[in-house]
């Protein structure tokens, strides 16, 4: 049974740990198979359980998993990672296809940890700026203390138009503040019929952001979203991620808005 058992995790070595905030770290894990932004792994420490974690970076022999210390499994990962390994299975889900966005104007809007599944898209166009006709990243976080991927923002600023905003500024913060939605209308777009919008974040943020994009004239078919759900198995069995006749783990988590708008919890 071993060779065909999709539930069997494999051991992956932690190569590096990048601390973003007190509760959010990126774990750079050994993995040499194919992976796309927006796909996810089931990450586990045996005896503590599994949790679905999206891929926040892809390199030749590694994948980045940005983990927030908010659940039973992730608490345990934070306590036990030092010089160690984690168990993984995956990657699961469809992920974002970069091909759909090449040679287009792109507005990528992410809220909080919603930046993880789309970070690979920003990385790609930052490294290949000639393959886009204009790339704006709008990223929102609760407060300056919650900002993730600070080093990456510095890198992205060189080739991409980056708008980094926080809901609640604190003393000494001199960046932008306010909701991501406030910045959308002022982003210049030359060809609205062909412009791509990518939106990932908490449910209410996604809804308001999509409304803004549609108001700006974006076509529904040019808007892409990713849905966060409780994927217990990742392979269409456990039922937790089902919405209508859709299994987020098999058919998503990335959806074109023409399909995504019908997903009703």
């Amino acid at each position: 049974m071993t060779t065909t058992n999709p539930y069997t995790p494999f051991l992956s070595e932690i190569k590096e740990v990048i601390k973003h905030t007190d509760i959010e770290y990126t774990f750079r894990m050994t993995f040499s198979g194919d992976a796309k932004p927006g796909q996810f792994f089931e990450v586990s420490l045996p005896k503590f359980g599994e949790a679905p974690i999206s891929i926040s970076g892809i390199a030749e022999d590694t994948v980045d998993l940005t983990i927030r210390r908010v659940g039973k499994v992730t608490d345990e990962i934070f306590e036990n990672y030092v010089g160690d390994s984690l168990f993984l299975r995956g990657p699961y889900g469809n992920g974002f296809s970069i091909d759909n966005y090449i040679d287009k104007e792109i507005i990528l809007i992410a809220g909080g940890t919603g930046l993880s599944p789309v970070k690979g898209i920003a990385d790609y166009f930052s490294a290949h700026p000639k393959e886009t006709k204009g790339f704006t990243l709008v990223a929102g976080f609760k407060s300056p203390n919650d900002v993730l991927f600070k080093a990456d923002f510095e890198k992205w600023k060189k080739n991409l138009n980056v708008i980094l905003t926080v809901d609640t500024p604190i003393d000494g913060y001199c960046g932008k503040s306010g909701m991501v939605t406030e910045y959308i209308s002022s982003i210049p777009v030359k060809n609205i019929d062909d412009a791509i919008g990518i939106v990932v974040g908490p449910p209410m943020m996604m809804k308001c952001t999509i409304d803004e994009l549609l108001k700006k004239g974006f076509k529904e078919a040019n808007i892409w979203i990713s849905q966060e759900r409780k994927m217990c198995c990742g392979i269409g069995k456990c039922g937790h991620c089902k919405i209508d006749d859709t299994y987020i783990c098999l058919d998503g988590p990335v959806f074109n808005y023409t399909k995504g708008k019908f997903l009703k919890d």
Partner: protein
């Protein structure tokens, strides 16, 4: 082939089968019911014909034979992961027509939706199904509406009469064992009419999702999940790891039954949950059973056994809800 044999011979046959098979059938657990002085009828291992409860509907379905309530997938010892062993014997399961149709729903999820589930398959491939007839409908059944009242894909059909046992076998093993028995034409008992019938709309418009119909269940439903646990077509589970209290280095990964009606089903890390309102959970379940599953797999999911109505402590009726949805759709289409 059909046969007529006496009960002693049937029990001898059971004894022979028990060498290589575990036989599961509905049994009466006296005093085990939900209310005082009531019995529970649920699945258990049997070794004689007399232990099988033929006269009443089982409170729980056969599904726990193929999907154990708690199933160990792996054992962990330090860094070593060992898959759990399959049961040593094959299985024989006694079940009614609605449940045999439900088997098809379980197969669809576990063998066809995404990759094959090896834990389900290893049980499924070694399980044989014996049909129990229904002379009359039971309370809350609506199998006729769901088209699940007749079955032909059984390994055998067994009926116990006052004197004898009638068998219709599709299984070589039984045909060989009964080779010297009296041939007999046996047609399975089945119902052609239930006291309850449902009408399911061909397509359900989006407006039904937003209807106030679901509000009726918001305070009535207590989110106990019993309807899911008795349902022969509910297949959800949650992964659960544990470690042994006297040796923290060893532990196991299990999957345990889950319910879309119970708190925590949709919780994602950080505490966000979807469908916190119980009326919306009812809508999610009903739509899955009579619409979503069909959109994806072309057959209705619900098989009309009515166990959810039998078990509900709040007397919520699923069949009644289906008919309410149908009335609403008719109203909208008018």
């Amino acid at each position: 082939m059909g046969y007529q044999i006496n009960k002693t011979k049937m029990n001898t046959l059971f004894t022979d089968l028990l060498e290589n098979y575990t036989i599961y059938a509905p049994k009466r657990f006296v005093g085990g019911g939900t209310f005082a002085d009531t019995d529970c009828i649920r699945y258990g291992e049997i070794s004689t014909l007399e232990e099988i409860e033929f006269s009443e509907k089982s409170d729980y379905s056969f599904k726990e034979v193929l999907l154990p309530i708690s199933e160990t997938l792996f054992y962990f010892t330090e860094a070593v992961i060992k898959e759990s062993d399959p049961p040593p014997k094959e299985a024989i399961v006694f079940l009614r027509s609605c449940d045999l149709h439900s088997l098809n729903r379980l197969d669809t999820i576990y063998l066809k939706n995404g990759p094959v589930d090896p834990y389900y398959k290893r049980l499924r491939d070694h399980t044989h199904f014996i049909l129990m007839g229904c002379e009359n409908t039971f309370e809350n059944c609506f199998c006729v509406s769901m088209g699940t009242n007749l079955s032909t894909n059984y390994d055998a059909y067994i009926k116990v009469t006052a004197e004898d046992v009638l068998i219709d076998s599709h299984w070589n093993l039984l045909d060989q064992a009964l080779a010297n028995s009296q041939p007999f034409t046996v047609v399975p008992d089945s119902v052609s009419i239930n006291k309850i019938s449902v009408e399911i709309p061909e397509s359900i418009p989006q407006s039904v999702f937003d209807s106030t119909l679901w509000d009726d269940y918001t305070t009535r439903c207590i989110a106990c999940g019993r309807c899911n646990f008795v349902c022969p077509t509910c297949t959800c589970f949650t992964m659960q790891d544990l470690f042994y209290s006297d040796n923290g280095k060893a532990g196991e990964r299990r999957r345990v039954w889950a319910s879309c009606q119970v708190d925590g089903y949709t919780d994602v890390a950080g505490g966000h949950a979807f469908r916190e309102n119980k009326g919306q959970r009812m809508r999610f379940k009903v739509m899955h059973k009579i619409s979503d599953y069909k959109k994806r797999f072309d057959t209705q999911m619900c098989t009309g056994c009515g166990r959810c109505d039998d078990i509900c402590p709040e007397y919520i009726s699923f069949s009644n809800c289906i008919n309410k949805v149908n009335a609403l759709v008719k109203e909208e289409n008018r």
